[in-house]
Point group: C2
Chain length 206, copies 2
Amino acid sequence: MSASSSTYHHGDLRVALVRAALELLEDGGAAELSLRAVARRAGVAASAPYRHYADRDALLSAVAAVGYQDLAHALAKVHPSPSTPDDLAAVAVAYVQFALQRPALFRVMFGEPCDRDSAERVSATQAISSYVAAIVERAFPGSDPEALSTAIWALVHGLAFLHLDGKLDSSDPAAVAQRVRASIHAVIAASASLASPAGAESSGRR
Amino acid sequence: MSASSSTYHHGDLRVALVRAALELLEDGGAAELSLRAVARRAGVAASAPYRHYADRDALLSAVAAVGYQDLAHALAKVHPSPSTPDDLAAVAVAYVQFALQRPALFRVMFGEPCDRDSAERVSATQAISSYVAAIVERAFPGSDPEALSTAIWALVHGLAFLHLDGKLDSSDPAAVAQRVRASIHAVIAASASLASPAGAESSGRR
DNA sequence: ACTACGATGTGAACGGCGTTCACATTACCC
DNA sequence: GGGTAATGTGAACGCCGTTCACATCGTAGT
């Protein structure tokens, strides 16, 4: 914005760098995301970012934090408070679509052995985890929320990565969505049958 | 081996490079895996690898191919022909353990936007896919093998990545195994109840 | 208003990287 | 043995992350 155009001390390099990095991620692979390229795009010298970020990983963590917020927003937009199996499937489709539409950002968020200590990352992870757990508890009140939410998060996350890496065909978005829904519905049917004590013999327990 | 020790044209640089790369991956992060470091470890000039591999990605693909074989071997060792839900859970635990024990190699295999055209990678992917599908068909003959095997592969793959990235605690191997088993059993119970509602043999727990 | 100081940006430099190219060396075929 | 293709070498290019001395700017204290 023009708010900072008159300053020769760039104004707000900290956020400008994150924005430049996001722009590079959008229209180019993650391979082209170098500190020097980000600085170039922001119009500063290659050494300027070090006044605001300790190293490249610190900037990447800030970028990832924005990614987590965007992902959370994309999921929330599907349904404010998902509480049925179909809601859950829709959220899962949105998760995978986010990964496929912004693959480079998704890899920055999840792909690399990043800083575990980054508070932003840890809290974002817990946010996702509790978000999934909340859906599971609403949709399947009788189930073990711990195991079921872990399983569902892993299932959705795995679907995203397998499509991203070309292990599953991602050329047709509709087919991808259908595949995600089919996978989710399998898990969902299971938990439903376990939650309702009516068909006791169907669960095969004990 | 000493078989190639007398040749000044190194003998078999092609496989020596892959072996050097694997050694570097084992006792160092994936970050230290540079072509120059691999060449150094193999005792040749930095440009020598280009006589055998088009570029760095080509060498990485060869390394990944070995990783796929190792993974297949590790899974087969758990059970030669898994056909019950418990067998499937054990295979899933082995999959996640492979990822945690050889994280750098696992990332090379699955992490990056690698060459899709590499025949080795494609066939290895199909091998894993059909392997999972075969287990599913044996264990759940009445189910939709397509959807169910996709879901299970994604579930296991997602569990591996979430542990690898620290999104799930991986400090205690036993706890990890328990978590994997719990997740798998949820899905398994569902498909079993769906596949064979009549013959409810006790397939729930070990 | 002037000055001193801390915050911010610059440019050059270091070593490492992937990759290329001309050149040297070796293995193999006739 | 001599020619040829395969294989390894060393230097070079441009890019990378990172550091450091230095320049520039906003601002607080007087």
